[in-house]
């Protein structure tokens, strides 16, 4: 007579089938989930030339695509400066207002000063600064 809690052949087979089913499901599901995860593109730092930057007047701005990031380049008296154009509130692209000397977001009335700091509106953080380099008569912006 076997003890009440001792494993039976049927119980062991039930466990074996359940375990094999779980392992098979996981083996099928894990590649499926990884397949759905977006593949990284580009990566690392990216450098883009700002076309026609030299002919920009003081106070003028230009938005360029650097990888997946939109970057706004402004020519100021002190030289070129560049920021991520993505508003830190909800991702709309800011525009440079020459008269106000501010970056304005068209979506929720946010304003950032010429150094990217929040002046008014709901953004929780300043605009992210992007590196600008002058090489000869060309202007490059690069993201880390």
């Amino acid at each position: 007579m076997s003890k009440p809690n001792s494993p039976t052949r049927r119980g062991f087979l039930d466990f074996l089938i359940a375990a094999c089913s779980a392992i098979t499901t996981a083996a099928l599901a894990i590649p499926g989930v990884l397949y759905l995860w977006p593949a990284a593109k580009g990566g690392g730092s990216q450098k883009v030339e700002v076309e026609g930057a030299k002919s920009m007047a003081i106070g003028q701005s230009k938005t360029v695509q650097v990888g997946s990031l939109a970057v706004i380049v402004v020519k100021q008296r002190s030289g070129f400066c560049a920021f991520s154009a993505v508003c830190t509130h909800l991702g709309c692209l800011v525009k440079w207002d020459t008269g106000k000397k501010q970056f304005l977001c068209p979506c929720h009335a946010a304003a950032f000063d010429e150094k990217g700091k929040v002046v008014s509106g709901p953004p929780p953080a300043p605009l992210v600064e992007v590196s600008v380099k002058e090489v000869g008569d060309k202007i490059f912006v690069s993201t880390a």
Partner: protein
């Protein structure tokens, strides 16, 4: 022997067709509660719209191309070149909006008549899931024309996912298929819109209908006091209720075609990832959440806002298990009815604020600027005073 008899004989000799015929006859002549009327057609109206969306969606798929270069052009081609393409596109776009209206009206009727109570809690829960799936249909389908409004509304919408605690950035990256809204996002939304959601919705509708048929429509009797319907007392599903549904279906078709002709949806400018148009706003059914989120700022504001915006859906899902009262008649459930009315009014109020925020309106001959939070500011003509040209009403 007629052809029909021959076909019937073919099936009779192979299957137990009597059982099938008996089941169909029983379902067709099922008795509905005596109060079943015009307010009970919103469910079938929503189902009808889903069928319309499926048919028009398949027709649009023949010419639609889900890539950033071709999506907008293919919509232009459907509208301008394909015979009756404009009509099917308009019926699909208007059908999406009307389907949400239909589901909402169906839920409102069910809520106020207490039909979600025992034993129909799961019918309600599947209904709430259907509502969420219908909204997700709207969100994913909105991007497919790849125009400016769609592109930037999706950017803002998926940016909101970033505010979800802990998993926000992963969720956003997964939804977009990368850092920003690109062709990867379009592909993902397209697959979800035309493959995944239709099957989920079909399955959920099946479960919802089976549950509805098993428990029948609710009467106004209190929980536990419902008596089985006497054959002579109820309303036969066929032909009485089906006739009502048929009349509504014809009316719906007329409304869909009229709206398509009188108020067509614009194709808009093609998406430009380097220029955000002014005052992007979501579709009307997202306006209450859109407006509510604006009131939560600061480091924890977004998280609190997301939690508060999720609460109504959670409440809807759990409502049959929270409201344990036995009464169904609205007059005998004052708290639940007051709560429902308050929630409805709050949603409408926030939606209206969201719609008019950051615009100028004229009211009783005076012009006002409605700010981001919905606060009106009187616009004073520049030459009438030296003070700034807007003045908060609260001053």
């Amino acid at each position: 022997m007629s052809v029909i008899k021959k076909i019937q004989g073919f099936f009779d000799s192979r299957f137990d067709t009597d059982t099938v015929a008996h089941f169909v006859d029983k379902q067709a002549h099922k008795r509905l509660p005596p109060h079943t009327g015009w307010f009970h057609v919103f469910g079938s109206l929503s189902l009808l719209l889903f069928i319309s969306q499926t048919i028009t969606g398949i027709l649009l798929l023949i010419y639609y191309r889900p890539t950033p270069d071709e999506a907008h052009k293919s919509i232009q081609y459907i509208t301008g070149e394909v015979q009756f393409g404009w009509l099917y596109r308009q019926i699909h776009a208007w059908g999406a909006t009307l389907m949400i209206v239909g589901v909402l009206l169906h839920m409102i009727r069910t809520f106020f008549s207490g039909a979600y109570k025992k034993p129909r809690e799961l019918t309600w829960v599947t209904g709430v899931v259907l509502f969420v799936v219908t909204i997700t249909f709207g969100f994913t389908g909105y991007l497919l024309p790849w125009n400016q409004i769609a592109f930037w509304a999706t950017t803002v919408g998926t940016e909101s996912a970033n505010k979800v605690p802990v998993i926000g950035s992963w969720l956003q990256y997964f939804l977009r298929g990368g850092e920003a809204v690109t062709g990867e996002t379009l592909s993902r939304f397209f697959v979800v819109h035309v493959i995944i959601l239709p099957w989920i919705l079909t399955g959920m509708i099946g479960i919802h209908l089976v549950l509805m048929r098993v428990n029948n429509l609710a009467t106004f009797e209190a929980v536990g006091e419902e008596e089985p319907l006497e054959p002579k007392h109820g309303i036969p599903f066929f032909p009485v209720h089906v006739a009502k549904e048929g009349a509504v279906a014809i009316l719906l078709l007329a409304v869909l075609v009229t709206l398509s002709v009188v108020s067509p949806w614009e194709i808009g400018e093609p998406a430009d990832a380097l220029s955000t148009p002014a005052h992007i706003k979501p579709e009307w059914y997202f306006l209450p959440s859109y407006q509510l989120l604006k009131y939560f700022e600061g480091p924890y504001g977004a998280i609190i806002g997301i939690i508060i915006c999720s609460l109504p859906f959670l409440l809807l899902l759990l409502w049959p298990f929270l409201d344990r009262g036995k009464e169904r008649r609205p007059r005998k459930r004052p708290i639940a009815v007051a709560f429902g009315l308050f929630a409805l009014l709050a949603a409408v109020f926030l939606g209206v604020l969201g719609h008019y925020s950051e615009t100028n309106i004229t009211l009783f001959g005076k012009a006002y600027h409605i700010d981001l939070l919905g606060k009106p500011h009187l616009i004073v003509p520049a030459d009438s005073t030296d003070t700034p040209n807007t003045e908060a009403l609260s001053h």
